[in-house]
C-alpha cells in the first residue's frame, strides 16, 4: 500500500487508527483519505486497510 505516495507495509488486519498510531500521529491533527475517499475520524478504528490501498494523510500548514 502507499501512504502519501510512499510504499509502506502494515501488519495484516491493520485499521486506519492502527496506521496513525504506528506513525505517531494524533488523529485530531490529521485527516485521512483512502483510495480517494475521506475516512471520517469516527470511522478510523473500524476501517480496515487492504493490499494496494492508497492513503493520503494530511494536516494544516501555512498558506494564503
Amino acid at each position: 500500500m502507499s501512504v502519501n505516495g510512499e510504499a509502506r507495509e502494515v501488519p495484516a488486519g491493520s485499521t486506519v487508527a492502527d496506521l496513525l498510531r504506528a506513525l505517531a500521529l494524533a488523529s485530531e491533527r490529521v485527516a485521512v483519505e483512502r483510495n480517494g475517499r475521506l475516512v471520517p475520524r469516527a470511522q478510523h478504528a473500524a476501517t480496515a486497510l487492504a493490499e494496494g490501498d492508497r492513503l493520503e494523510v494530511v494536516t494544516l500548514v501555512g498558506g494564503g
Binding site: L60, G63, G64
Partner: protein, 303 residues
Amino acid sequence: MVAAGRAGYPLEILQPALPPELADAPLQLGAHRFASRLLVGTGKYASFEQMARALELSGTQCVTVAVRRVNLDKRSGPSLLDHVDRARYTILPNTAGCFDAPTAIRTAELARELLGTRLVKLEVLGDPKTLLPDPLGTLAATRELVQQGFDVLVYTSDDPRLACHLEEAGATAIMPAGSPIGSGQGVLNPNAIRIILELVQVPVIVDAGVGTASDVALAMELGIEGVLLNSGIALAQDPLRMAAAMRDACSAGRQAFLAGRIPRRLYANASSPTSGVIAPAPPPAQPSEVRSEPGAVPAPAGE
C-alpha cells in the same frame, strides 16, 4: 502608545476610536461576522512566532491555511494550529495547489474534517506559472461544494460574467484576484471589480495581488467588502510593520468608500471663500514713470 518625538521628548500617539455613529457594519461570511475586513494568510513567514505577531498587528479575525500531506519522515514539531488562537481567529482553509475540480473538492472535504468548518476558500488553478484560476473547474467545484453544504468563498478572475455564474452556483463570496497571486501588482483592473460589484449581491473580496498598503486602500475604496492577502505582509522587509500598515489601509479605504469621495475635476475649486478678499495691491507703476530722472532714456515699449 508612546514613541520618542523628534526633539527627544515622549510623543503620545493617539488613535481615537470611531464614535458609534461612524461604526461600520461587520463583514458577514456564512455564519461568521467580522469587524475587520482584512483576511490574512499564514504562509511564508520566517517563523510561527512572526506569523502570530503579524496576524495580531493586522487586526484580522479570519486567517487562511492550506492542507498538505503530513511529512512522514520528520518527527512532528510544532504545528501551525499551536500558533493560531482559534478563539480569536476563524480559520479559512484553502484548496491552494489544486489544478482540477475533483482534487479541490477532495481537499475541501479533508479541510472540513480537520477543522469542522463549513468555510472553504476554493482555488482551482490553471497552471503553476500564472496561478490564474481555471474558470470552468472553479465553477464546477463551486457547484459541487455548495451541494455538499460548504460556504464557498471562491477565488476567481475579475471576469464579471463568471462572477455572476459563481453567485448563481451559490457561492458565499466572490473573490476576484487583483493581479496574480504573490505578484504585488495591486488591482490591475478596478473597472472590472466595479462591474462585479454592480452585478452580484454576495460579498466581493479582492484576493491576491496586493503589494502594499495603498493597494489595499484603493481596493477598499472601490466598495468591496474586504481584502485577502498574504505575501504583501509575510514577504515585506518588516512584516510586522506592514501588518499594521495593511490594517490601517483597510480601515482607511473602507471609511473613505463609506464617506463618498469628491468627484475628480480638471480645474481648481477654491476651498476658501472667493468673496471678501481685501483690496488688491494697486497695479505696478509704469517703467516710464519710475525712470523720471532728467535725461533718462525711456525703456523700450513691451519690456
